[in-house]
Amino acid sequence: IGHPEIFPLVFTTKTQEIFNCRVLEDVTEENCFKLIKKEDIIQDLKTRAAISDFHPVKKVVLEYPGEELLVVFDANFQYGQNFYLVASEEAKENLLKPPETTEDKDEEKEEENGEATMEVHPYKPPVPKPWVSLGSEKEVEEESVKDTVAKIKYRISRERRKFGAPITFTDRNASHAKDSYIECTSYQDKAFSIKMLEKNVGIQMVPKVREASTQTKWSYPKNAATQYFPRQLTNEEREESLSSEKLKEFFTSVHLRMEIALQQNEIMNAFFDDWKALAEDESSSGGKPDVYLKAYQSFTDLHYLKDRTISCVCWHPTIYGIIAVSARQQLFYEEQVNLPGKSVLQQSVILFLSFSDPIHPQLMLECPEDIYCFQFSPSDPNIIVAGCINGQVVLWDISQHEENLQNAKTDADGVKTSAIDTVNASVPKVLQYNCMSGTEPPLVRFRAISATQYSHKKTVTDIHWLPDHPEASQTGATFENKGGVRVQLVTCSPDGSILFWDVPATKLSEQPSSEKIREEEMFDMPLNVPDTLNHLDLCWKPLIKINLCESDTNTEYSPVRISLRELHYHYKTSEKMQSLNTAEVPAKQSPYREMSTSSSKNMKAPQNVSASFFLGTEDGEIVYSDWKMEIESDVAKTVSQKYTIHTETVNTLQRSPFFKDIILSIGGQNFAIWKEGVTTGPILQLSCSAGTYTAGQWSLTRPGVFFIGRDDGNIDIWDLLKKTYEPSHFQNISKSMITFISACIASPEQHFLAVSDDLGVLHVLEICQTLHDASRNE
């Protein structure tokens, strides 16, 4: 209400009675003041405590300085209650007095109502009081600007007359004059530097991530190969279908067509190219000057073949370019008789010569005696058998050196340079040889040699491997040889016997398993001879011995050549040996029988085997005979026919490679062609006027061609299709007598003819195309 001294009070009737301020009795509107003694109030307060009306203002009453308190009846409830207490003396006084004075005025009434608040004072101008500092002087002082330094005063004066005078201005560069200006440049204060002692650096490790991608070519699995087996009907199904009706119908409908077609083919070959066939005939008939034998190579060996004559030449059956040559001494007439007892001055060898190395032999086979004839085994080219002058049969195995022979070409170049020196140096030393450098060919000692008492008494003149199927046994019965390995030999000799030899199978099977190491075999060190085959040395016995006797005169034949019938496989060339010259053996003159053996084709029953063979004898007779064994004895009984054709010893007896029953025989001054079964005589007989024939060979590819060697060193080429009365072509090969001819087919283009002569030179000739390409219907 704004009157701090006014306290509204509520007087209850009781209180009014106590203090005598009953409404409308003691106090009225006009007389609204009542003075109550303080002591009374206090006593009231004590007696009536909380319910006393003066309780709210108890404190005011107690603090009232005066003795009497003024209570004013408020009829208008100005202050909210019907009574109010005035708390201050001054206000009491004011109320008591002024109301009496201002009752008359309305303004005074209003002021009575607002009695405690404002009193109307007469206006008094504010009296200046002393400044009361409240602390603001400091701030003022701080903020005020004061001169710290006393300002300097300058006074500049100039003479008055200089003012306003004309003056000229010029430019002046400040940098030109020294000290015209002063500047203060910035410089690095050395004294002042901030040294960074520690620095906080934040580091974060971030893995370097790089995106990469690859793609592999994934190929889905596919079948690389499949294996299946064909469907086949079972036997029952097969039989069932065979007997079915459908099959019958099928056949009835089909067979006619088929037969027509078959007959058409039989009648005529619709696709025959006449034009082409015509061309071939043309080419074969013409071209005469092209027929020749081109000299390919000639071999001679200074060491072994000097002054010797080549007795036999054989091509290696499997390795190209290897040819084996056996040499023996040249013998004159007188020496012929004493042949068996002749001592050998020089080591006799069989030389293996290679095309790639014409000077050096590749291999040498040691022989105890001079060799007359030798053969490669058709089933195993590493086995060589030979017949010696003294009647023995020798066998070699060169399987160890087979590799060397095959590699002969590669070695040849390295060897050639030093060849000549070593050959000369080794002349005094016959049997020395080097292992690895290959300057001297390795010497192979023989594996087996026949026992002298069982061998021939005279020279073994012909040696053949038997065809493998019928094998002669000890008892003479022939039986099959299932192994296919040729294990039997037949030899013949002028002593009138034919011997069958058996090379045991164990020996042959052992040989391939022998190690292929080069063995140094020296002749004077027989320790190195392999032990496996020692048992055959000098005790090799023939299986069967056939003595050729004529039935009536009971004298012996002396077969020089034997030709047996071959069943299958390749044909061996019969060896053409140097004949024993024209000298006849005086003691053995008698008519001989021919015998020709042919193994029977029936392999199942040995009983049916009949052996028939051709024999060429020393006296120039051809004997054709059958040979049947008797069980008890070794001696054969023969049925034979004999023909005397040749004037001299038969030196060649060979079957044609194309026709099994055609045989060429050469001896002396004529040659003849025989056919088996034709018993009247040769189907062709020819003689040449000049010179004698000394060697012959059928051509391997042309059935009508054969080669004949003469004693003047010429080779005659006979082509039976062209001329039958004279050689179609002849060519001179060497100065001396031709001793042996052997042909070989090295490749479809290269056909060779090896010709050996009396001087120890081996000529290898290439047969030209026309001579070895067979024409159509030959």
Binding site: Q232, L233, L247, V254, M258, L262, N265, E266, F271
Partner: protein, 95 residues
């Protein structure tokens, strides 16, 4: 019986090297050759016959294959097809 006779007669012709009877699926029923060769021939020739027949019929649907002859350098193969079977004869024509 008759089948055998006919077969024998065919085989007796000059130059005939082999005879075979194949069923519709290419499985040999009767043959004079060894098994592996027969199976090989059967498989190959059967397919060839099917192809030839389809060729002929494609060209003219009214037509059908009656006989097939294959002449090679070495011999001639003759095939007589039918509904269910195939008769194959290999002959060496003489020249």
């Amino acid at each position: 019986a008759e089948v055998e006779e006919t077969l024998k007669r065919i085989q007796a012709h000059k130059g005939v090297m082999a005879t075979m009877v194949i069923n519709a699926e290419g499985i040999p029923v009767r043959t004079t050759l060894d098994n592996s060769t027969t199976v090989q021939y059967a498989g190959l020739l059967h397919q060839l016959t099917v192809k030839a027949r389809s060729t002929v019929r494609d060209l003219d649907p009214q037509n059908d294959l009656t006989f097939l002859r294959i002449r090679s350098k070495k011999h001639e193969i003759m095939i007589a097809p039918d509904k269910e079977y195939l008769l194959i004869v290999i002959q060496n024509p003489c020249e």
